[in-house]
């Protein structure tokens, strides 16, 4: 299966939170299991400096509410051999931060990430040609919308699966309806069934509705966000309506960094077969923190 992952972060080069760790690790894990996997991400300066990409094809453009946003596509491979398609629009992504700087969000994030999602869908349709698009969080939600609703793209993506994964439900990409034309969609999509949300536009809601499958990062959390209004952030009803098309898949742990048998940051390595060194680690930490060594028996002897 050919999979195109669409996300605003990719570790270790463009990282704000846990999303970057996922996008850093998941493509390689999918590829190791035989899936042909690529990643579509914005061309941040940190990425282009590290990976030295080449331009793919001519300049392209996305029409956004009357303005033509033109961009290039850059191609590169990660050291692990995963192909990257980078959306190069310097005015939007050639900045020091991903979502903001100095503790302040950029004021045009809605415009930036609508552009990114739409450009990503077009790049998938023309260049990556995947069987499935796997979009992550609200910054990639417009890719799902374009696949299913944008006239110039949807016919070519009919047989491509759209999958949306929620990492952080607290951020949904909500904006005023006068900016709806940025999406390049017919106004009929601004309905309570799809994109309308309390008089505003909600990108994550639209992606949840239009995706073939929606996932979040654990099975229990998937149930909780669909049934507990406090955790559903207003989308519990929409999520509940997905039925068995809403699933939960746990993220993986980074066992390269976190493995007591290979960990160079701990006093002595240990493993299931050589557990005694764990007691040594405990003794050292107690000394470091000036905590007393209790007299009661310790199982690690």
């Amino acid at each position: 299966m050919r999979i195109a992952i669409v996300a605003a972060e990719i570790g270790p080069w463009a990282k704000v939170g846990g999303l970057a760790d996922v996008i850093g690790a998941l493509p390689r894990a999918l590829a190791n299991r035989g899936a042909e996997t690529c990643v579509i991400a914005p061309a941040y300066p940190a990425l282009t400096a590290a990976l030295k990409p080449n331009q793919l094809g001519d300049f392209r453009s996305v029409e956004m509410g009357g303005a033509n946003e033109s961009y290039r596509v850059l191609g590169a491979n990660t050291p692990a051999g995963i192909p990257l398609f980078l959306i190069d629009h310097p005015e939007m992504f050639g900045r020091a931060g991903i979502y903001g700087e100095n503790g302040r969000e950029y004021g045009d994030n809605v415009r930036r990430f609508i552009f990114f999602g739409r450009a990503a869908a077009a790049v998938a349709a023309d260049l990556a040609r995947p069987d499935l698009i796997h979009a992550h969080d609200w910054h990639a939600a417009a890719a799902v919308l374009a696949m299913r609703a944008e006239r110039a793209i949807r016919d070519r993506m009919k047989s491509t699966l759209a999958v949306f994964t929620i990492h952080n439900l607290a951020f949904q990409g909500i904006f005023e309806s006068h900016d709806f034309p940025l999406l390049g969609l017919d106004w009929s999509w601004y309905s309570v069934e799809v994109l309308e949300f309390w008089g505003r536009v909600n990108l994550m809601k639209g992606a949840i509705v239009l995706a073939d499958g929606v996932s979040t990062v654990s099975p229990t959390y998937a149930w909780e966000i669909a049934h507990d209004p406090e955790l559903g952030f207003g989308l519990d009803g929409v999520l509940r309506a997905k039925g068995d098309r809403l699933t939960g898949i746990l993220n993986g742990a980074d066992y390269d960094e976190w493995d007591p048998a290979r960990d160079r940051l701990i006093p002595k390595p240990y493993s299931p077969r050589r557990r005694a060194n764990k007691k040594y680690c405990l003794d050292v930490l107690r000394d470091d923190l000036r905590l007393p060594h209790p007299a009661n028996p310790q199982p690690y002897r």
Binding site: M1, I3, G18, A25, L26, A29, L30, N32, R33, A35, D131, L132, H134, L161, V163, H167, N168, D212, G213, S215, V217, S218, P219, T220, Y221, E224, L231, T247, G248, I249, L250, N251, G252, A253, D254, Y255, W258, D259, P260, D263, L265, I266, P267, Y270, S271, P272, R275, K278, C281, L282, V284, L285, R286, D288, L289, L291, P294, N296, P297, P299
Partner: protein
């Protein structure tokens, strides 16, 4: 030794931990916290450290090396979160043989199961109600098992065997993708 590596915010359950602290300290444990965030919450634990100088340490600020050393030293690892979409630190704790004591929410509930010494199954301890007494009850169960080294070693073995690798996650994603593909072509 109970370890915690967390953010000092109510989401992480440190508010009920603060309320449960005196009960916990009666259980003959040591608690090491690496956490920073809400100054008011930090202050509560700083004051507790003065009350229990031999029993607890709060280290504020980010210190990756210390996070690793706490994992390696801890017998138990506490995560009383109010909610936790996935959570990764409990997976690290399992790998380091530190039995997780967690609230049964989100990814914590999916990675940790209650240890049963009779059936020798389970890799940690859970509580459901977001209440200080539920938290201290789970810690008390863990401490009780800890007093029996043979049982404890069975539990630690179960922790070591818990696999939450990216390979496992990728396999689940691919299975799900295939199911979606079949459903779509069936339409």
């Amino acid at each position: 030794m109970i370890g915690m590596v967390t953010r000092m915010t109510p989401q992480k359950g440190v508010d009920i931990l603060a309320e449960a602290l005196d009960t916990l300290m009666a259980l003959d444990i040591q608690l090491v916290m690496l956490a920073s965030g809400d100054p008011a919450l930090e202050k509560i634990f700083q004051q507790a450290q003065e009350r229990y100088p031999d029993r607890m340490r709060l280290i504020t600020g980010f210190d990756n090396s210390l996070a690793h050393r706490i994992m390696a030293a801890s017998n138990m690892f506490l995560m009383p979160s109010r909610f936790e979409p996935c959570g990764l630190t409990q997976m690290y704790a399992l790998r380091y043989g530190a039995a997780p004591i967690v609230r049964a929410t989100g990814g914590l509930r999916d990675t940790v199961s209650e240890f049963n010494p009779r059936t020798r199954t389970g890799n940690g301890f859970l509580f459901s109600e977001y209440e200080p007494t539920a938290l201290s009850g789970a810690v008390a169960r863990a401490v009780e098992i800890f007093r029996h080294p043979a049982k404890w070693q069975v539990l630690v073995g179960n922790c070591f065997r818990s696999d939450y690798s990216w390979d496992r996650a990728a396999g689940q994603y691919l299975q799900w993708f295939e199911r979606l593909r079949e459903e779509r072509t069936a339409v």
